[in-house]
Structures are given as C-alpha cells and as structure tokens.
C-alpha cells in the first residue's frame, strides 16, 4: 500500500503548497491594493487611531485639537478652535466625510504616518511612547485673520493677505463660513450637519479666497498700468494720455462708460485716482493683447499650479480674445477673473518693488516633539515689473488712498496704497456687482509687511452703495492695522 501512500502524501503536500502560494499572492503581491481598498476601514481607523497633530498659527497657538470618542471604531475626533474663522485654512478632517485642504494635504504628517517621521516612530517603539502626529505650522496671523473675519461679519466675501517680502499668507478668510467641528465625527448629528452644509445655498464649504474667481473690476487697472509702464506705452505717469471722451471700443461702436468725470486725456496718475475706464481700456489696447497676457501671467494669471500648498484656482486673462475684448479686459471685465489670492499677489508684487514672491501658508512641518522636519524657504516666483516702474505704480496707489476713491483705507501715520474695484457681472450686468479693494501698507523703511485683497459679493446692500471704496476698503484697513500693530 506504500505506493498510493506516497502519492497521497504528494497530494497533501500540494494542498499545503497551494495555500502557501495563495498567502504569498494575497500578502505580498496584492497587499498594497487590498490594504488601500475603499472597503477597507483600516485606512480611516489608522487615520483617526492616534492623536492627530495640530495646525498651528503665528504665535504658536494651535487652531485644531483632538478629542477621544468612546465606543467608536475611530478613537480620536478632530476638534477646532474657532472653526468658522480658520476653516478656509485648515479645511476639515471628518471621520465620515473625508478631509480637505491642509488636513488632507498634510495628512501624513498629522497622522504621523509620513515617511519623514519614520525615525520618530521607531524611537517611540523603543521608548514605549504612543504614536502621535506631527504639527503643521502655518504663516497665518491670528490678529489679521480675526480682523478680516469680524469686518466681513455676515457679508458674503473673502480676504487674502500676504506678506509681500516673503509671500507668506497672513490671512485667508471666507464668509459665510462653517465649523468643521460639527461634522468631524461619524454620528447621526454629524451627518445632519454635513448634509445641511453640503446643500447650503451660501456655498459655505467653498473657500472663496482660493477657490472662487471673480471679475476683478477696476482693481485690475494696476496690472494694466504696470503693463503700460513696462512696455513703454507710458513713461511719465503725470503726462496726459490721448484718450478721447467718449472712448469707443476698438472695432465696435460701443462707447466705454466712465463713472468719473474728467477722464478726457487724463494722465495715468489721475485716471487711476478716479478710476477712469476709458483711459485704461485705451492703454490696454495700445499695449496689445499678447503683451497684456504676458504681464498678467507674470503676476500669476492663467497659472493652475499655484500651490500654497492648497491649490488655488487659476485666475484668467483670456489669451485668444479680440481687440475689443482685450480693451474691456484691461479694466477687469469681459473674461477676466481672479481669485482674492491672485489680487493679493498683484498687490504684493507691486509693494515689493516688482518682485513677486511665491505665496505659501505652511512655514514648517514638525515632528511630534516639535523638531523641524521641513521649513519653507521664501522664493521668487517672477518679476512682473521693474523696481522703478513698481515705485511709480506705488505712487499712484498711494494717491488713490490719499485723494481718490480709496480714502476709507487711510491709516494715520502710515503710508497706504490701494485701488478700489466694482465689478459688474451677470447677464447684462444685472446682478449686484462685487466690491473689491486691494491695498498695501508701507513701513518707514520703504518695505511693506502686508498686502491685502478684499472681495465682497454683498446682496444686502443697496446697489448704489456697493463700491470697493465704501464696503471693502474698511475691511482691508482693519487687516493692515492688525498686522502693523503686531509689528510693534
């Protein structure tokens, strides 16, 4: 009977071999795919299984926290300090509804799973310390953020503020906002809060400062002014231009409407002060579409890879439109669209003597013990205009605040430059226009610590009242003051 016995033993061996091959297939070949399947709850369990690191703002104050949730698969729940205030910066991390923005982009650091934390984890394994997440230290200035948020109040709008010297983002506000704490867990209440938010008419979940583009209106005129100076169309800002009144858009019979008087042959300086449409449409036409596109792109338009690290939507300056379109675009209408961050970048480049620094909001990533893992080094993104021309634009913008449409942004004892904007939009411009204001403040040494862009899409105010100077300038002023105060 031994011959069949040997065959049976071979058969048994094959059974075991089949199992060995199968386990290698599952645990080696397919392991990666299986462990990251969407059905595999281990991913979220791991994400919320350890105390999540914090997102920290200037002054070392965390705006996030972690709370233990009992009786749930997910041990820790995200909590937020002043959730609505910081939501545009942090995004949210919800056990049930995923995560966005910094919470999502820096998830590896925050959960402690990042490869760069491998060493910390290994040491923790030996010292018996519980695994913790690292921290994300942002550049945001709590005073500026709070000032912007309070000033916007119940209005719909957004604020972006940048330190022009480094590109560090100081404030990023979007209203109406939401509190990410309300749906951080996975209970019924969390689900209710989430559904309400998701369907809210106010689009509360949208980060208007980075992810919404608006026609920039007259604030775009500073770009046109820069293009005119850079391309030699204007060299003396106080020399009269050859703008007729009324100015007819090239190739059409449509006159460009001015809301201000005295725009005929107005100098660049005067035209910016009272915001003459005709002068800038004329200059934009003279610079030409391609040169206008070139300058706009140097400021950051048409760039869909502006990562702060949260990616901002691309602002648009149309590359293919005709002459009349280009003339209208030169005053920030037609197809031109910009995010608040983009307009803050424009202001920052001008305030920084023509040098545009790459905007960023994560200054450092640290290990749980606060050892720095990565530090952001400010870098120049481009140079849209020469220092001399930048100073000319600055001079004009200071003029706007001192004597023009932007007087509400004046701060006593500080040199402030700005530009108002009121952007028409909707079918036949029927909708309420957006109020814009961009501005920067200058220190006695000539450098600027802050550049701000404010947009308010306010439907509550009377149409006549909506103007950048009236609505948006006080917000910008409050933000600048907050930053200046911090500087001592």
């Amino acid at each position: 009977m031994n011959k069949p016995l040997r065959r049976i033993s071979l058969f048994c061996g094959l059974l075991v071999l089949a199992l060995l091959i199968r386990t290698n297939w599952l645990q080696y070949v397919q392991a990666e795919e299986l462990s990251t399947r969407k059905e595999n709850r281990r991913v979220q369990i791991a994400q919320y299984g350890t105390e999540r690191g914090n997102i920290i703002v200037q002054g070392g104050q965390p705006v996030t926290g972690s709370a233990v949730t009992a009786g749930s698969d997910y041990k820790f729940k995200r909590t937020y300090v002043d959730g609505p205030l910081w939501a545009p910066v942090t995004g949210y991390a919800s056990q049930a509804f995923g995560s966005t923005q910094l919470e999502s982009l820096e998830d590896g650091i925050l959960t402690g799973n990042d490869d760069r934390l491998f060493f910390d984890r290994t040491i923790g394994m030996f010292t018996g310390e519980k695994k913790r997440g690292g921290n994300v230290i942002t550049t945001l200035n709590p005073a500026a953020q709070k000032a912007a948020f309070d000033q916007l109040g119940t209005k719909k709008g957004a604020v972006a503020a940048i330190d022009p010297r480094t590109g560090a983002i100081l404030a990023l506000v979007s209203t109406p906002s939401y509190d990410p704490s309300t749906f951080a867990g996975n209970s019924k209440a969390d689900e209710k809060a989430w559904v309400e938010l998701k369907d809210s008419e106010d689009k509360k979940l949208v980060n208007r400062a980075l992810r919404e583009t608006y026609p920039p209106g007259s604030t775009f005129k500073v770009v046109t002014a820069a293009a005119a100076l850079e391309n030699g169309v204007v060299s003396d800002i106080n020399a009269p231009t050859d703008t007729p009144e009324p100015y007819i858009l090239p190739g059409t019979k449509t006159p460009m409407v001015n809301h201000a008087a005295g725009c005929e042959k107005a100098s660049l300086n005067d035209a910016l002060k009272v915001s003459c449409n005709s002068v800038f449409a004329n200059l934009g036409d003279k610079v030409g579409r391609d040169k206008m596109v070139e300058t706009a792109q140097k400021f950051g338009f048409n760039n869909d890879k502006i990562d702060t690290p949260v990616r901002a939507f691309a602002s648009v300056y149309d590359k293919t439109m005709g002459r009349d379109g280009n003339a209208q675009s030169s005053i920030g209408q037609f197809n031109t669209a910009a995010t608040p961050l983009q307009m803050a970048m424009v202001t920052a480049a001008i305030a920084n003597d023509g040098k545009l620094m790459k905007p960023y909001m994560v200054d450092q990533l640290t290990a749980p013990g606060l050892d720095t893992i990565e530090k952001h080094e400010p870098s120049e993104m481009s140079k849209p205009l020469s220092a001399a021309n930048a100073q000319k634009v600055q001079q004009m913008m200071v003029n706007v605040v001192e004597k023009g449409t932007g007087t509400k942004a004046q701060i006593s004892g500080v040199k402030v430059g700005g530009k108002t904007g009121t952007a028409q939009h909707g079918e036949k411009n029927a909708k309420r226009p957006y109020a814009w204001f961009i501005s920067y403040a200058e220190l006695p040494d000539g450098s600027s610590p802050v550049a701000v862009a404010v947009v308010i899409e306010d439907s509550a105010a009377d149409r006549e009242d909506i103007s950048g100077g009236g609505l948006a300038a006080p917000v910008a002023k409050a933000v600048m003051e907050a930053v200046l105060k911090n500087k001592g």
Binding site: M1, N2, K3, P4, L5, R6, R7, I8, S9, F11, C12, G13, L15, V16, A18, L19, L20, R22, T23, N24, L26, Q27, Y28, Q30, A31, E32, E33, L34, S35, R37, E39, N40, R41, R42, I45, G71, D73, G128
Partner: protein, 474 residues
C-alpha cells in the same frame, strides 16, 4: 524478518525513542505562546497581562503531563506531533484572548446577545480537558488494532453523530449551518468527532474488502471499472455526504468525509480508477447542490468576487473582510494585538481565526503556521508508511488526509482560494469539540506511530550461537 523491509522509512530496529527531543521541542512549544501572551497584553493594555506566570505554569504542567504520558505509554512515538499540537493550541488560546480584548467584538456581542463573555478561559478549560482525553486515549488504547473490532459499531456511531444536529430540539441552528447540538448549555459539534469515528469504520471496512474492490473489475478504456455491487459503498458515502450538505448546510463536513473516503479507498485498492470515479462524483454532486442550495450558491458567488456584493447585500462581507485582513497584514504583519481583524465580526475567533494570524503576524506568520500544519500531516503520512498492519496504515492515512483536507478547506476558504465552507482551523479556533477531537486525533496518530516504530522483540537466543562463544565467564 520482514520487519526491516516493512519499515523502510523509519528504521524500526534499535530506533532511539526520541523522547528527549520531544521534551526539548515541547519546552519551545510552551515558551513561545507565553511570550505571545505577554506581547498581546503589552501591545493592547501596555502592561503584562494578568497571571502571565500562572497561566504559563499551568500550560507547562499540561504539556508536561502530556509528555509524561507519552514517555510512559508510547515510548517510541513520533517526537514532533505532541510539541506541534501544543504550540498550535497555545498560540490559538492567545489569539482567542487577543480577540476577547477587542472592544468592537465586545460591543457587537452586547448589542446582539445583551452580554459578552470571554472565550479564552473556556478554551483554556477545553484544552485541559482535551489533554486529559489525550492521556486517556493513550492509556486505554494500548494497541490501535483493537479498534478494528468496532468497525460496524463505528459506522452506526458516525451516522448517529451526523444525524444528531438535524434532530429537532437537539440541534441548534447557528448562522445558517446546522452542525451544533446543545446539551445542557454546552454546544457540541458532533461532526468533529464523527471525523475520527468514521475513519475507524472506513479503515476496518476497506481492510476487509480491499481485495474484492481491487481485483474484481473489468478494464474499460484503461480504467478498471469496479463491479456494480462494489460500487455500493462509495455510492452510499457519496449520498450521505450530499445529505449532510443539504440538510445541515455543512459544506465542509460533507467534503471532508467524501475526500477522506476516496483517499482511503485509493490507498486500500491501489486503483487510480477510484480517484477518477470519486472526483467525477464530487464534481457532479457539487454542481447539483451548488445550483440548488442557496446557502452554497451564496458562498460561491462571494468567492468569485469577494467585493461585488459588499456594499449592497453584505453577503460577501466576511470573505471580503478576511481577504483585506490578509492584505493589510502584508509581509511582516501589524504585530500581535495591533491589527483590525475583528472587523470580520462574530466568526473572527472561530472560522476566521486564521485571518487574525494573517493580519497580525503577516505572510511570515501564516507561512510558519501552514508549515506547522504541514509537518503534522507529514508526520501522519510517515506514520502510515511506517505502520506494519493495513488497518493502521489506512487509519493513519485517513486521519492525516482528513486533517490535510480540513486545513486546505478552512485556510483556502478564509484566504479566498476556494468557496468558504465554515469549518474550524484545528487547534486554533475557539470551540471545545474541535480542540477535543483534534487532540484525540493526535493521540491516535501517536499510538500508531509508537506501534510502528517500536523495535521488534529480540529474537530468542539460538543454541547454535551459544556454542560458538569462545570466551566464557569463569
């Protein structure tokens, strides 16, 4: 003598008893689970688990008793069987204890039954009982050939054991499969014991009938076709396993019995035709039952695509969870107590206990476990080869073949290699019947191997040799 030629694999004459080897291996088999226990406690609670020393000592005493019994009553037995079984059993208890600590399973039990009770203490108790039973078998069963006398009684006994779960009032339907009976608060899985009892019947029956089954046949297309009346037994076993499948929803047991019978039949008759016939019959039976029984159909569907019905009906959730468990373990595993194999739910500590091994010990651990099982099977087959009597050969190969099939069917099921059958991993899974039955199985294999390796009695002194001696003591 024919002793030498009969035991080509294991030299019978002057075979060392290997009891000290066994003792050394047993020491490892006791120490490793104790470390595992400490490891789980440290990783889950951050401190040594309660009574590490006491439990370790108790476990060592149990294993020591097993060893002493073998040393005394089965001196020449295979030295590997007892240590491997002890190691697997010990690690099994640790795995169960680890799953006891899972908050998720505790909450699940409280939601469904209102209470939660730990399984590990019970498993420990059963292990003690099982080792006692192990000792009793070795003490009482001095020679395995005695069992031949019970051939037909065994058949009756096996039938009764198989039918018990279907009897109303006695059987308990747990999650679809009627394989339990509950007596006075204890649930017993008669199928586990039937496995051994029926092996006795097959061995006894085939030993007597092997010549008739092997020789009285006609040759047709290269195959020896058995006579109609010789086909009777296999048809009966086939029908019986189908009945088990249909009435008890027990795919595993039915497959096990039929497979064991075909293996033993093949060994007894040395006729390949039996294998062919057996395979054809099981394919036929599987097709018919697979197409009609919804229970089996659902498992086949879940096997074909473990994630297809995941979000809709959840019928394949267990298999899907188990496969993800293995995948998440990766090569080295998450470490004892640090995985989430408890996501599988209720069956995590019984049918699916191997998934915890997969997740927490990784590919490395799974391979180690499979090789341990492989070693038990190998020692069993070796015992069959070494056994001198046909009954012992058949009995040993029947038991080890069944063991191999069970490992394949369970591990293959939870790893998604074959459809899930709902059997338990020997020694690992929580459940008294399984532990008791498998320890009896090991005891029987030890007994057979002892008989096989026992040296032949020294030949009587021959007067001739006496004469040739030159030096005499004075």
């Amino acid at each position: 003598m024919s002793v030498v030629t009969n035991t080509t694999t294991i030299g019978a004459i002057e075979a060392p008893s290997r009891r000290n080897t066994e003792l050394l291996l047993l020491a490892f088999a006791v120490v490793i689970p104790i470390f595992a226990y400490a490891n789980v406690g440290l990783s889950i609670h951050g401190e040594l688990p309660p009574g590490t020393l006491l439990y370790g000592l108790g476990f060592a005493v149990l294993a020591g008793i097993g060893h002493l019994v073998v040393r005394r009553y089965a001196k020449y037995a295979d030295p590997l069987l007892l240590p491997i079984a002890t190691l697997l059993n010990g690690l099994g208890v640790v795995l169960i204890w680890r799953l006891d600590q899972s908050e998720r399973l505790q909450n699940l039990a409280k939601r469904s039954f209102g209470t939660f009770s730990e399984s590990a203490p019970r498993q420990m108790m059963y292990t003690g009982l099982a080792l006692a039973l192990f000792a009793v078998v070795l003490l009482v069963l001095k020679d395995h050939r005695v069992l031949q006398r019970f051939t037909y009684i065994s058949m009756a006994g096996a039938l009764v054991l198989l039918i018990l779960p279907v009897i109303p009032g006695l059987g308990a339907d747990v999650f679809g499969a009627k394989i339990w009976i509950s007596v006075g608060g204890f649930s017993i899985q008669p199928g586990e014991f039937a496995k051994i009892v029926i092996a006795i019947f097959f061995a006894g029956y085939l030993m007597v009938k092997r010549d008739a089954l092997a020789l009285a046949s006609r040759r047709f297309m290269g195959l020896y076709l058995p006579r109609g009346r010789d086909l009777g037994p296999i048809l009966m076993i086939w029908a019986m396993s189908l009945l088990v499948l249909v009435f008890e929803n027990d795919l595993g047991t039915s497959l096990l019995f039929f497979g064991m019978f075909v293996i033993m039949l093949y060994v007894a008759t040395e006729r390949t035709s039996w294998i062919v016939i057996g395979l054809l019959m099981s394919v036929g039976g599987a097709t018919v039952v697979g197409a009609t029984a919804s229970h089996v159909k659902a498992r086949v569907t879940a096997w074909l695509d473990p994630f297809a019905c995941y979000s809709t009906s959840g019928a394949c959730e267990q298999v899907g969870q188990s496969i993800m468990s293995f995948g998440s373990g990766g090569v080295l595993g998450t470490g004892w107590g640090q995985g989430n194999s408890d996501l599988i739910g209720f069956a995590a500590n019984s049918d699916f206990i191997f998934s915890t091994v997969g997740e927490e010990l990784g590919l490395t651990g799974v391979m180690a476990f499979l090789l341990l099982y492989g070693l038990i099977i190998e020692r069993g087959v070796r015992t069959a080869l070494a056994a001198r009597d046909p009954f012992g050969k058949l009995f040993a190969i029947g038991l080890s073949g069944a063991f191999a099939l069970q490992i394949f069917v369970v591990a293959g099921g939870v790893m998604g290699l074959i459809p899930l059958t709902g059997m338990t991993m020997p020694f690992l899974a929580s459940g008294g019947s399984s532990v008791l039955a498998n320890w009896v199985l090991i005891a029987i294999l030890i007994r057979i191997s002892d008989t096989a390796r026992r040296p032949a009695p020294a030949p009587a002194p021959s007067p001739d040799s006496e004469m040739t001696q030159v030096v005499r003591p004075s």
